[in-house]
Symmetry: C2
Subunit: 253 residues, 2 copies
DNA sequence: CGCAGTTTTGATTCATCTCAATTTGTGTGG
DNA sequence: CCACACAAATTGAGATGAATCAAAACTGCG
């Protein structure tokens, strides 16, 4: 629950408001600022409903027809791509307030799988409706473009991670990124629960699960974090940042 | 020169048409199909001019204010990102008909560097003008969204490459990708000139330049390609495809 | 309480990096 | 046009980080 909102807000149960962005306490995360009331009403009309997913369920699969993008109302997802020869690369982990499905716009087919890593709920936004509305509401158009661009920039960061960093730098970067995103949502930056397995972390980071496990153990031995299975406490943020930016041997190139 | 157009078209030199998309023989590459004449005229009005760059010149740098996206009229570019500790990851190579600058939309600052790898010429498209026009011309809006989405999907492919492939698979994938893009532009798919150094290829593929060089040599020894410095002939596409999809040892996860 | 999935840890192997020397190519100026 | 200097590419030998193979420990769920 975002810290910026009082936790004593009583949720409305009026049916017509159930899927209303204007009533959603996530709107600071997934919507542009400065929409007028009338614009918010238009946006409410665009939301094509909600959908709940159990842990392990697919929101969409590679090859599915693309029709909508999805805002995560609650929960945690991973996206991954497969090669024909069966190799599997996790391309991202998405949490509350983030958006899924942008990969499908280009070909009108989804190009990756999106799986819930815990029981989750999403808002479905039919893409043609979104495009129509965004051509009328300039701030929404701009917001959508920024969202796509940020996804590209994020992917560049992952390329840097995969192309240039060693195992421990990758894991430190990953933990600090998660920490920051939990913090932005009003959760603790220091203590959190991993929703994914070591294997999924490894797939995302281009490492084997044993390597991920060993790096966790070493961070713990060094006193940077404490690890109990999926429960993580960050004890020394600066230490992790040092690992991320100060490669043991020669930097550069 | 795209094969789909006769090579005897005489270029127009009327000043007012010099930067006109409607007269550009690249329009099949970088524009949506099915624009009416009046829509094309509107598009022409959006182009904010041209710019020529010498080899080695920067089109933009990380941190520059974002104002426009750039369509490559002729030439070859690389984009790269730097970490604070000086490591440098090439995030892509862009050729004629492709677009640069999408990274800057999210923060209104460019987040990577774009450098010409040969003398080049770009069309400058002021972003606010593009957004305005795309909200009026639906096919243009759709085309722009597809372009951004394809960039995301392309990046996912690079993540797969960096996260899951071995050195020779990466290089084979890279060569086949270049080959296909040259072919789409009417050039030979089998024979081409690399515009980038081994070090830049290595940076893109997450490898050291020596490893790239060794992989080239091995491909040549196996008879898949012939290499003379930057001149490449692909002799056995199937062989390269086998390398790409049939990892030597165990496949999968 | 036991089983299956997950995680940890250890021993060994292997792909790629690193360091170093040599060759080849390119651009410049006499 | 040639020679020189510098950048790029190749090749070899050895070091190393992560993968692989293997086994044990932990967790949570029925």
């Amino acid at each position: 629950m975002p810290a910026s909102l009082p936790s004593n807000v009583i949720p409305l149960h009026v049916p017509t408001l159930q899927s209303a962005c204007s009533q959603c306490n996530l709107r600071e995360l997934c919507l542009p600022l400065g929409l007028s009331d009338s614009e918010l009403d238009m946006l409410d009309a665009v939301i094509g409903g909600r959908r709940k997913l159990k842990r392990g369920q697919y929101l969409y699969r590679s090859g599915d027809a693309f029709e909508a993008i999805y805002a995560i109302k609650a929960g945690f997802f991973k996206t991954d791509v497969l090669t024909e020869d069966g190799r599997d690369q996790v391309t991202g982990f998405q949490m509350t307030g983030e958006v899924l499905g942008l990969d499908g716009i280009g070909t009108e087919l989804h190009t990756c799988n999106a799986v819930a890593l815990e029981d989750s709920e999403i808002c479905l936004i039919p893409f043609t409706d979104l495009e129509r509305l965004s051509s009328e509401v300039h701030t929404l158009q701009r917001h959508f473009h920024k969202m796509m661009s940020r996804e590209i920039v994020r992917d560049h960061g992952v390329m840097m991670l995969l192309g240039k960093m060693r195992a421990e730098e990758r894991l430190a970067t990953f933990l600090l990124n998660l920490s920051q995103r939990f913090m932005a949502r009003g959760y603790s930056a220091a203590e959190f629960h991993l929703r994914m397995t070591r294997e999924e972390i490894g797939s995302y980071l281009g490492l084997k699960l044993e390597t991920v496990s060993r790096a966790f153990s070493r961070f713990q031995d060094e006193g940077f974090i404490s690890v109990h299975q999926k429960h993580i406490c960050i004890l020394d943020i600066q230490g992790l940042k040092m690992i991320m930016t100060h490669p043991p041997s020669s930097s550069g190139t």
